[in-house]
């Protein structure tokens, strides 16, 4: 009984983590940027969806759309305001650009977080579920929205796969991750590729944020832990490897759910963190990473 419960809850949480981490790893793979404002963008999406539904009286579908749109917008802003100026700056030595991007996106995330706290308070917000009601699976009462969350995550990840591997735009993105210079020689504007990638990232983070807001609820305090969990999943899976991130998301998601049910919710994140340290020690490039 409990095992089934863990299986269902863990699947939903893992699928959410996978969605969030996929966008994160995509950005890294294509433009080498680790975006530490990730958690802030997810929370902004959830809060926007909540505000649209409860302040502006929209229905939950439109609310979710508003949330995703806000995330895509913020993601583009992140690129134009924070990342691009650093990448183009001639005052920052190339080998230090990485740390500058990390610090700058971290500050940017704090700014988003504080703006949310200022306008919408620090209180936890739960986005109204899109599908109401409860479903019984083999005697386990599960909110229908949990299943919906899992389904949407899987669908979006599948769509992403099709987009990257089967469409022209996707192939350009893929090529840019392998050889940016080659792509420019073929006549593609690299900035446009980056814009596409950041929009894809924003949409993914937005969907993950809105779904998380329905599933667990978010507050501006969730920003740090969300960024940290995406970062850990991506590193655990191997930076830049999408399939690695997916596997890692399920490992972390199930480990956390298992700990929360079997030991205590207070210990929830500890085993995953310890696992990460062990993996860092034995296999620094992550599960599926290349060196």
């Amino acid at each position: 009984m409990l095992a089934l419960q863990i299986l269902i809850d863990g699947f939903a949480i893992s699928a959410l983590y996978a969605l969030g981490a996929t966008g994160f790893t995509l950005i890294f793979g294509v433009s080498g940027v680790l975006n530490l404002s990730h958690g802030a963008i997810m929370v902004a999406a959830a809060v926007a969806a909540w505000a649209a539904a409860s302040v502006f009286q929209l229905d939950s579908y439109s609310g979710a759309l508003v949330g995703v749109a806000i995330a895509a917008l913020l993601s583009l802003l992140t690129y134009f305001v924070v990342v691009q100026p650093i990448q183009r700056s001639n005052k920052i030595p190339n080998e230090e650009k990485e740390i500058f991007v990390l610090t700058a996106t971290l500050l940017w995330g704090i700014m988003i977080q504080e703006a949310i706290a200022y306008f919408f308070t620090n209180n936890a917000k739960t986005v109204l579920p899109i599908i109401e009601g409860v479903v019984k699976i083999a005697g386990i009462r599960t909110p229908a929205n949990t299943l919906f969350t899992a389904a949407v995550c899987c669908l979006v990840i599948a769509l992403l796969w099709v987009l990257v591997n089967r469409t022209r735009t996707g192939k350009v993105v893929l090529a840019a991750s392998m050889n940016p210079r080659g792509v420019t020689i073929l006549g593609f504007e690299l900035t446009n590729v980056y814009i596409v990638v950041w929009i894809i990232y924003g949409v993914l983070a937005g969907i993950a944020g809105v779904l998380l807001g329905m599933f667990l609820g978010v507050s501006s305090y969730s920003v740090g832990p969300l960024t940290a969990s995406a970062f850990s999943i991506v590193v655990l899976g191997g930076l830049g490897s999408v399939s690695g991130s997916l596997i890692a998301a399920f490992v972390v998601g199930y480990l956390e759910t298992f700990t929360a049910y079997m030991i205590s919710p207070a210990y929830r994140s500890i085993p995953a963190l310890l696992l990460l340290v062990i993996v860092m020690y034995i296999r620094p490039q992550g599960l599926l990473g290349r060196r």
């Binding site: 704090i110 504080e114 703006a115 500890i270 340290v277 860092m280």
Partner: protein
């Protein structure tokens, strides 16, 4: 090194320190209290800069070292009734051990992986503090029975003296041959290794020195506050503040990091009337500095001097 004593930087620092030392005679206890905290933060930021600016290692978890020092000192004082000074010394020792433990696995990896390992160390420490609440006071914090001094002026002088001594040692180290080797191994580890320097040993040493000063400063800070809590010495937000201070003041300058820390703390206090927007404004200012003046306060001044 001898050049430094003739440079204007030395003269300016000396004058600033003398002015700072006379402050308790004419400013209010409130400002002294503020600066006291700022000086301890200055030491955090300087030790961080030694690791990042010179060894080239992005340590996202300065609070792992600070928190270990602070909590070790606090727990020994609160639960075992050890006198204050041994507690502070043991806090620093604990931080050095923590730095060693962190450095061993962390030095095997580079760049973002290293950053993440240090970040995770903070999260683990934070979880342990919350889980072992009987020992650590959990989320509420740990009360420390002893205090450094009840006089604001004396507290201020202790902090100032501590910062000046730490600054002298850390700056001296950064300008010494050891500092140069560190800088070389941070910028091009392969070439530095090829020149026959033991990079791992140097980086480990940098880690230990950084940990020592972070831990010592953390332990002193809790004896000044009279409490140790996650929010003041462990939280990632505190670590971010340390990093921002160092980058703002000018990385690879050591002294700039202290200036950045003082600026951050004082600015945060001045902006207090704006309420929750204070953090937003400070972060925005820091972001602008990073984007447009990547050298930071001291970095811009020094490079202009070097050019002229």
């Amino acid at each position: 090194m001898t050049n430094f004593f003739k440079s204007p930087l030395f003269g300016i620092s000396l004058i600033l320190v003398i002015i700072a030392a006379t402050l308790p005679w004419y400013v209010s206890g409130y400002i002294l209290g503020l600066l006291t905290v700022a000086y301890y933060f200055g030491v955090f930021a300087m030790s961080w800069d030694l690791l990042f600016g010179f060894a080239g290692e992005v340590n996202f978890g300065p609070t792992f070292l600070i928190g270990t020092g602070a909590y070790t000192a606090g727990i020994l004082n609160n639960h075992y009734g050890l006198p204050m000074y041994p507690c502070i010394a043991l806090g620093a020792v604990a931080a050095v051990i923590a730095g060693f433990v962190l450095a061993l696995p962390a030095l095997r990896v580079r760049g973002p992986y290293f950053g993440l390992t240090t970040l995770v160390a903070v999260l683990i420490l934070q979880s342990f503090i919350v889980v072992f609440a009987d020992l650590t006071g959990g989320e509420i914090g740990l009360t420390i029975p002893d205090v450094l001094s009840i006089d604001a002026g004396v507290n201020y002088w202790i902090a100032l003296g501590f910062m000046v001594v730490s600054a002298a040692i850390l700056f001296g180290l950064s300008q010494s041959p050891v500092g140069l080797v560190l800088q070389a191994s941070g910028q091009d580890p392969v070439q530095a290794g090829a020149l026959g320097f033991n990079i791992v040993k140097h980086k480990l040493a940098a880690f230990i020195v950084s940990a020592f000063f972070s831990g010592l400063s953390g332990a002193l800070l809790v004896f000044y506050f009279g409490t140790a809590s996650v929010g003041t010495v462990v939280d990632i937000a505190v670590g971010v503040q340390v990093i921002v201070a160092a980058v703002l003041g000018g990385r690879r300058t050591v002294l700039g990091a202290a200036l950045g820390a003082i600026f951050l703390i004082v600015a945060g206090e001045f902006l207090r009337p704006t309420g929750e927007l204070a953090t937003f404004i400070v972060s925005a200012v820091a972001l602008v500095v990073i984007l447009f003046f990547p050298g930071g306060f001291l970095g811009s001044v020094l490079s202009r001097e070097a050019r002229s």
